[in-house]
Symmetry: D2
Subunit: 473 residues, 4 copies
């Protein structure tokens, strides 16, 4: 449940959708991408195969704005993959929009990728040294080159060759004229599901994309698994095995509450985070309100566990677009009230518990506290349904840098003072993990710095250097 | 709290905003319209006056899409009015976008109008007979003609002349090179507020537009009042007096819950509708869920009064745009799940009370009930936080025709059967009125057919005939 | 033969086209406007009637850019009028694009107008005083108001009523749901033709628009004639009679050489101007070259009469668009060589006669002379195939103001010195008139100031004041 | 002098422009491309280097439509290359627009290419086998891959490595952050010039691009020469030597008459072709007219040599755009009169010699003959200022296939009968060559099939197969 364009929120790393063997492939992909819109609002793209040629359309913006009826009607064929992008790496331009389409070894290939490779700078430099040419700054292009340069004869073997060189997070859909391949990294950072719609096979980042087309979820693509759909059969390979490292942020913020992710409907752990938060950080207060809409469910959990009544105390304007015009001379801080407004007769004279899902820079929370006080709140008790965010993510969530993460250099008390709340409580790491099944299968690097896939400092540096070159206007 | 593009919801009749005497007039109007976006998503427009010339830009779509920084920067001047439109009368095209700009008697005039005139067909025919030329099909053009043809010398007297001929709902902002006039019909159907931002005078349909620019609400423009802001003074006239007829639908659905409308923060009556509904139609159930987001507050009221726990059982996709592509061959009924999806672990095995704000055609409710059953709900008890909608509105809310309103020809039991709920309960008219201050000052025509401003059958017929001619491509 | 976007050329005053009773009315109008593109490149519009409704599309720019296949296909009906505009009066914006569409006295009316009314300011003020509202600044809107306010019962009588109040130049096409009316001012300033395409009746500013659709020219609409095409008959009225005043500039520059205008193929008088020029201003020279393409024919005439060989000495780039980006800091003078370039091996070492059709400000000629000298010309003898342009046109050609017309305040010798030519010769008024049939039926006001339709100084002043108010962005 | 969108004309193969070391690099490139517009109207692009980053903008359409002021202002830097494209190979889409920008071996590289490689299919297959990935279908991408894969250390050596593998026509501009390289194939098929603008170095396909920016032409880049402009010096290498094979079609049709190409102002040979044609195929006729505008000069030559008066007998509408809407049900033949129209009083009753520059399919000539007869011509003698076009070009001019070239399978008499002329005369190959300097340095393959650079049949077949895959919508 992503609230778009909150500069204080972690950004997400893309949604992917694929369908194999359905006459309405393009339209169903359109619906699927629409359901996955919360995973990326920067660009959208669909590529179809009519078994001879590819047809595609990519554009900047929301799915509903990128496509119109005429365009969709031209995307012929019964195989399709689609992609919603929020830039994790690579500058923000049509150049980097996905799916990527390339001629590889005499074959047409399209790739849609959700995740982030930690060895991308290394792989890119190696490839460049061997004469590979790059157009975009996206990781996906690296994957294409690795496939192209594999010595293997069969396309699926080329893909395995490539996958074995990747380190980091990836949930991939690869399409050729006749095949679709779905792969998930051995750690399983990002979700990827397989389902059925009659005879057709479908893949999606989250099951909500199946609901919208009335497809049946079948199972998650397993970490380290490659599924190959051909005209005749569906094959599966376990190409690698690692200790699982599911991204806990999918539960905290990223995935839709109605999706099944990592074996559970997201609403479950998300609400339990709120309940556990109430146990860890109770408050002597009159009402519990969420920062809408991303904290609705955890706030409700807090209310249910604490017995403090749930209320809607902040109204969120739903019409924010990509291009809201900022006043020239004004700092960010002044801007929050274009989106949120206190409902005065709810908060006035009340001791308010306000629940948010996470704190990145802290500026947004500060504005919310101010806004509630201006609305008449007697006390403001800030509660966060995740632990302090101290470390950046390198596996596909576009968090601020370490310097910008307020919790990386400030104590909880210092943060409380900065945001101006009467009290501040974060969920503990242990508490958080107690709310999920198989807690040791989750990645908590953004809280504790224990990165499950290593990288060197040099790599890190290059992560930022490489990607600032050659911006397209 | 309007959910855009629900074909089963009443549509709204525009939002207006004006500011007099501020160097950033255009930008503040942009912010004001953004806050009023829920009142109309079809077109948006801003006209400014630099005291010599007018500058304007109008376009189809949301405020954030219609304007960009360059455009705003060209809208010079310290006086501005703006308009968000949802078509109540007149076909949907740029032709009908507002504010209307005209040369009248050697003066430049811009008009922004929220409401609907019941004597528009009569006035239009009369004017045409006298040689008036019409371009659009909007009521606003009629008002412009009446002003132009008044024999009065002073502009404000011309306006009063015109207003005295209008019957029906109007909240008007009129701008000349040097003046701004704000008028509200004598019945007070639609809201209109006046506020201050430093030295500047501001007007808006709802106070939420003042919050976003940090202006101070001062008072409602009174029914039958004309306020005239000139370079030297602010004058006010009471040009007519009628028994008040405030639109109760502003409380049920149309206004934002954080706005002050008709003397009260909307959240107040809206929640009380839910509470009263719980008293009138209790249910033996496990959870109460809203049809998000428009019924959030009344559902919470129902939960609080009944003691049945409040839950989020339906997820609403927030990225619906104006141009969602419908599958060619599919009926409306199939489409609901692009926007709503049940959260299975909330509703599964539960006896669910689902609260909606109103029922127009019933198709949407029917889909919601089906969806909840598919999501595993054991029982579905539908509750509506307003009385049965039996009569169309002629005062500025774009309801379906009488034939299309399911409650006009069906009993509650028949409707229950149609939508497939286990039980169905509507709020009573008396119950509804018991939740508002000064209940006899409200219009309840859409429930009981007691139209406070009369019109002839002939007029009615022409309402539909006149407005279907001359569609622009 | 208009060369678009020559800032030193007179601009033209629009082209009109109409067709009554053909299933492909919109497409044929598109072709007709395309053939008349040289008469106006600012905006284009088509309105069709399907006998019940109007359908229209208007846009800024060239016909080929304004319309696409989808749009044309929506313009249903067997009656259509179209318009190419270059702004003679009224600011340049979509607001002023034609044909104008209005609801008049319960009827839908579309008007396309070529010309300029000298009593427009007076009529407009009168109408405003009587309560008429204006949107655009175009004369055409005045005509619409006069029709609307006529007391006559029948539409054609209303039109006659209106026409009798107009003074100045107009070639008009008026369309209702069922009728088409064509009218030409009693002086006959601008051309207007009637033709046949099978059963269909067609009208156009020039016959070249008939050629492109293979229609047969029938006759000119007579000065002071109103032709009315109804479902049953074609009627004609002579509503007024004045001494004819055909615009000689149609022969000099504006009309296409392949069109029949004022009873003759334009190529005829245009070439004779060049021949007469050779007789009046011979030159001792090696070659004759035109300023391409508008002076091609008169230069050829000069060559044929003088015996000096005709050559192409200047290359004209044909790809100039409406939006050529000018270097920020550079004067106009520097810009000419984006369009013209000397062909060095033609002019080098030669004594060159260069023929242009007219001189307005002189800046363009000055650049051409420089360019030819830079290209190696030994001598440059400038010849102009029309007399010195001393007076502005008020009948539909957008000439510079009197102050800007170099010939209004400078002798021929002064102009020669300014443009830097070795000699300069203009065609004499008598010489010019000796080249046309019925010379006393032509208007030569731009050369001798004898305006055939009078206007007051006050009117003149208002011509410029009125039209600068209320610019749309 | 290219007339755009004549389906019966050979198409051209792109224009290139480059400038090194000028603060207004982008704007001057814009002017240069504008002057070279006749070489390609499908897409236009400019890439600049600010010595650290590249900035670019590419778009479909004419230069004046692709760029606006804001865009140009963002193209920072003092080095730039630009490209006008007409597709010789590769489907028509933005994908194939040039200049191409790539990351190659850690360097940013932009390439603009005019020509066509006959060993492209072979090189592409080889590269694909070695793991190279292709996005577009253009030859230019092959060149980029060859540079990337060279084992050489220095960039210029990599370029030489690549050039030595190319066979066919290429005039190339290559830009890195700090360098510009200009190369021309050893046969010299296409022109390429070097010039100076103060300190800045400029390159362009034709010298007319220097005239527009007032740069001084210095010399042609020699066949087989690579010029390298670095911050410190200008170096030159002769990387290969072959017998010259200048494209004679540059003189016949492609280049502007005011450009210096292959050592001569194009106007010279072009006019001599007409004079020689008059000697080889005299006619007993009253007038000579050109098919405007491409045959203007040769027709004038014919007139001068034969003594038959030159006339303008066909008017050409200059406003044809890229998207002219064709009537759905009509064959091409019906369409010609949208562009050309006879000037009746010129041709009526006359024996007319009409001169065109070449005949491809013959359909256009057939329409012209018909049109002239309809215009009243007594006799029509068709003369062509080039020999019969029997063979397709593989060196960068987009001629029809052999099957479509009427002269490949028909005698002159058969063609005469097909086009319906009274007589038909083509220029002889010997006659043509007698009009140019160093006749043995020209390629005449399209007339005599003697291709100076060989290719296999298999290659030919692949030329068409490869390029039809993977069309973008």
């Amino acid at each position: 449940m992503s609230s778009p364009f909150d500069e204080d929120k972690p950004r997400d790393g893309c949604g992917v959708f694929g369908i194999y063997g359905h006459p309405d492939a393009a339209y169903l992909t359109y619906l699927g991408l629409y359901a996955l819109q919360h995973r990326g609002q920067e660009s959208a793209g669909i590529v179809t195969s009519d078994r001879e040629n590819f047809h595609w359309h990519l554009g900047m913006g929301l799915v509903v704005n990128v496509f119109d009826e005429e365009m969709l009607s031209k995307l012929e064929g019964d195989i399709a993959i689609g992609h919603n992008r929020y830039s994790t790496a690579g500058s923000s331009s049509l150049q980097n929009a996905q799916p990527l389409v390339r001629h590889i070894a005499g074959e047409l290939v399209a790739i849609a990728h959700n995740g982030n490779l930690v060895n991308a700078p290394y792989l890119r430099r190696e490839l460049e040294n061997k004469g590979a040419i790059f157009i975009s700054t996206s990781d996906t292009e690296i994957i294409a080159h690795l496939i192209a340069r594999s010595g293997q004869l069969y396309f699926e073997d080329r893909v395995v060759d490539a996958l074995l060189q990747l380190r980091g997070a990836y949930s991939l859909l690869i399409m050729t004229r006749n095949m679709m391949l779905a792969a998930r990294d051995p750690w399983g950072f990002r979700p990827l599901w397989m389902g059925r719609l009659g005879e057709a096979v479908v893949f999606a980042s989250e099951t909500c994309a199946f609901d919208v087309i009335k497809a049946t979820p079948e199972r998650e693509v397993q970490p380290g698994e490659l599924i190959i759909v051909t005209p005749n059969e569906i094959k599966t390979f376990q190409f690698a095995k690692e200790k699982h490292a599911f991204c806990i942020f999918e539960y905290i913020y990223l995935s839709r509450p109605d999706s099944i992710v990592f074996g559970e409907i997201v609403n479950g752990p998300r609400r339990r985070f709120g309940m556990q938060l109430a146990r860890e950080h109770p408050a002597d207060a009159d009402i519990v309100i969420p920062v809408p809409d991303s904290a609705n469910i955890s706030a409700l959990g807090y209310s249910q566990e604490s017995g403090i009544p749930f209320e809607f105390g902040l109204y969120r304007n739903q019409y924010v677009g990509r291009t809201f015009i900022q006043p020239v001379q004004t700092a960010r801080e002044k801007m929050v009230n274009i989106k949120l407004n206190p409902i005065r007769n709810v908060v006035e004279g009340k001791r308010v518990v306000v629940v948010d899902d996470s704190i990145m820079r802290g500026t947004n929370c500060r504005r919310i506290v101010k806004m509630l006080r201006r609305g008449g709140a007697k006390e403001v008790h800030f509660r966060v349904s995740s632990p302090p965010n101290k470390f950046p993510c390198f596996y596909g969530i576009d968090t601020p840098t370490r310097q910008e993460l307020i919790a990386s250099s400030h104590t909880v008390e210092e943060i409380r003072r900065y945001i101006g709340a009467d009290s501040l409580g974060y969920l503990s790491i242990e508490g958080m993990l107690s709310c999920v099944k198989n807690p040791d299968e989750f990645c908590t690097a953004c809280f504790d710095g224990r990165y499950p896939v290593e990288f060197t400092d040099q790599t890190l540096q290059q992560l930022s250097i490489e990607f600032t070159r050659g911006r397209k206007r």
